[in-house]
């Protein structure tokens, strides 16, 4: 029933009153450091702005909801029994995905001397990679992993140690580091996957923090808070990206003039290739028995058991694959930065990756790309956005859970269809 003007006003006024109470201690008042002692500072104008904003926002929200509701009831009474509305989106995401793919391939050609653009794009791809890894665990298998940064850290430290201590190259270290991450995934998963969903989330968080604290304090092997520096950069299959010298270099081999951009571009294509491989792998797995088993487990674990499926194995496989993909992203991260420390693998990092998966639409590969783009590009727009980024992400997570718990791109494509004519027995 649509509310009257007075009702809506009263409702908005109540919301504004709550906003006032919430705002007084956080917005209205603050303390600033002044010569070693704190002094209280007031910001009443800001508080007023906030309260008025909440009043208007609540009014509009109620108005919008009422409008929506009446329109829906009218639509229902108009068209009882007619065909279902076409699914929103339709083929659009597919076309967009191909467009994004094209852009990502062509980007270095257009911006071949713009280091900033390529660097930013590389960062986006790292998050895409991390998001896709976690998407297997959270989106497909429905296991809430809140410590994904741990596997990212394991991959990064594995490569850092293998290369600085044992002189391994990037390409040799990559599979080994992935394997180590898988072992960690199994070690974390094996005991904890028997737990119920929300407990599993807390346990993975705990494991993530344990790994970080160990890295922070294990000075002998991990360098403690200083981390590991001078990690060798990947070479072009043995040809280093270096100024001309005695040894053959990439530039010399191909008869190019040396440019520091070569390595940047190479790194970009490496992560792009890794990400595309990941995407192909995950999309393919989804159509295979194990992928369908992951999704079935997300839908109903007990039914899976009653059908003879070993739920522990299925969970472990999802967890290990997620760990491997996280580890690969970690290897790349270490190789690109040349320096790593526990700072890069805090709970905040896990939360960001989780936010990417949740915002992108759990289970949707393209959604992860969109969310990564927003996450990385938002701070680049301006310094203010950098500060507000996580605030907005937190708020967005709540709103999406309320509005579309399946995620923005929650439209699920069946993994196969029955060609009814052919198979009818």
């Amino acid at each position: 029933m649509p509310a009257t003007l007075a009702e809506r006003g009263r409702d908005a006024a109540a919301a504004a009153a709550i906003a006032l109470l919430l705002g007084i201690p956080m917005i209205g008042l603050t303390t600033v450091d002044q010569g070693g002692a704190l002094r209280v500072q007031t910001r009443w104008p800001w508080l007023a702005v906030f309260v008025i904003a909440v009043f208007c926002g609540r009014w509009l929200l109620r108005y919008g909801l009422d409008r929506l509701r009446t329109r829906r009831t009218r639509a229902r009474s108009d068209s009882t029994g007619t065909a279902a509305r076409p699914a929103p989106g339709g083929r659009l995401p597919g076309a967009l995905a191909w467009l994004t793919f094209g852009i990502s391939l062509a980007l270095p050609l257009v911006f071949s001397d713009n280091r900033y653009v390529i660097d930013t794009a590389t960062t986006v791809l790292i998050y895409v990679m991390l998001g896709w890894g976690l998407n297997v665990v959270v989106g497909l298998a429905g296991l809430l992993d809140m410590g994904h940064a741990a596997f990212y850290a394991v991959g990064a430290y594995a490569y850092a140690l293998l290369s600085t201590r044992f002189g391994w190259g990037f390409w040799e270290a990559l599979p080994v580091a992935a394997l180590i991450a898988a072992v960690f995934g199994l070690a974390v998963g094996w005991p904890s996957l028997r737990l119920r969903g929300d407990y599993l989330a807390i346990v993975t968080l705990g494991f993530g923090e344990i790994i970080r604290v160990v890295l922070l304090n294990g000075a002998e092997f991990s360098g403690g808070p200083n981390g590991i520096s001078q990690i060798p950069r990947p070479s072009f299959f043995g040809l280093p990206f270096a100024p001309p010298g005695e040894a053959p270099t990439f530039a010399a081999f191909f008869g190019l003039e040396f440019s520091p951009m070569h390595r940047i571009l190479f790194l970009y294509y490496v992560i792009l290739m890794l990400a595309l491989l990941t995407n192909a792998l995950v999309l393919r797995l989804r159509r295979l028995p194990i992928g369908r088993a992951w999704e079935a487990m997300r839908e109903d674990e007990i039914a899976c058991r009653a059908l003879g499926m070993n739920v522990t194995h299925i969970k472990l496989s999802a967890f290990a694959l997620g760990a491997v993909l996280g580890g690969v992203a970690g290897v790349f991260f270490a190789a690109r930065q040349g320096f790593i420390s526990p700072e890069s693998f805090t709970f905040n990092e896990s939360a960001i990756i989780l936010a990417i998966v949740v915002l992108g639409g759990m289970g949707s590969q393209f959604g992860v790309v969109l969310a990564s783009l927003v996450l990385v590009l938002l701070p680049e727009i301006g310094r203010d956005f950098a500060e507000y980024r996580m605030l907005l992400f937190g708020a967005a997570m709540i709103l999406i859970m309320i509005w579309r718990p399946g995620g923005i791109l929650a439209q699920r494509e069946p993994t196969l269809r029955l060609a009814a004519k052919d198979r009818r027995v």
Binding site: L288, E295, D300, A306, G308, L416, R417, L418, V425
Partner: protein
Amino acid sequence: MSSAAGTPPALLSVERLSMRFGGLAAIDDLSLKVPAGRITGVIGPNGAGKTTLFNCLTGFYRPSAGGIRLHHPQLGVLRLETLPSHEVARRARVVRTFQNIRTFARMTVLENLLVAQHNVLQRASFFSLAGLFGRKAYRRAEEDALARAAGWLDRLGLIEHADTPAGSLPYGLQRRVEIARALCVDPLLLCLDEPAAGLNPRESGELNELLLRLVAEERLTLLLIEHDMSVVMNVCDHICVLNYGRRIAEGTPTEIRNDPQVIAAYLGEEDESVPEPPAKTWARQRADEEAA
């Protein structure tokens, strides 16, 4: 008991089974035989321990005492109470459905039926690895699985819903999806937990037909929990009545219908008048229940 001569050998025997939760005995020293190739019904008032019995049979609960033996034609005697739930379905091929429907709601009906063939497909695809490279052996196994799923969908009248998400189907169809999915596991013993609940009289008539056909054509053994007397009395060869976790009667539908203890359990102790045999029709049964 009464019909010893014609009874086929037991596929499943429950021996002195007990299941206690704290001080409460949900099942108390229960023994039961399920003859192969027949339909056995388990009835009893709410809280009599019927679903608990299923949970023990299928490995979801570990019984406090007693044993459950399955006489497997190839593997010999299997002690179900020692197997974890997925092994009960995989090795012993005892498959169940659930009272509160448990389909994979966001997956299509066809996907539901393929998930049920997970173990077969997983083996054929060498843990999905061969499938990753599109090997022929896997593709053939997938074709077979699809054909089998399509076959069951056809027989259960679900074929036009194959590509619909299971969760968006009406209640009665979802029950059928669950049965089709269980059949895809290729069970020896199929345990159905109130398959007729929420069905209208026409649907429950169709269910009767389906159950009888499954036994006749597929040589399946069925164990059935049901409240709908029109189903129980019309399809069961053998009925076991539970009350407070104990067996209070066992026998053919006619015997059960006239058993004073059963009547007492259902209608209350004081009722002396011998009621007419439980109604043949669903509507009649409902009216009786309401009167009681």
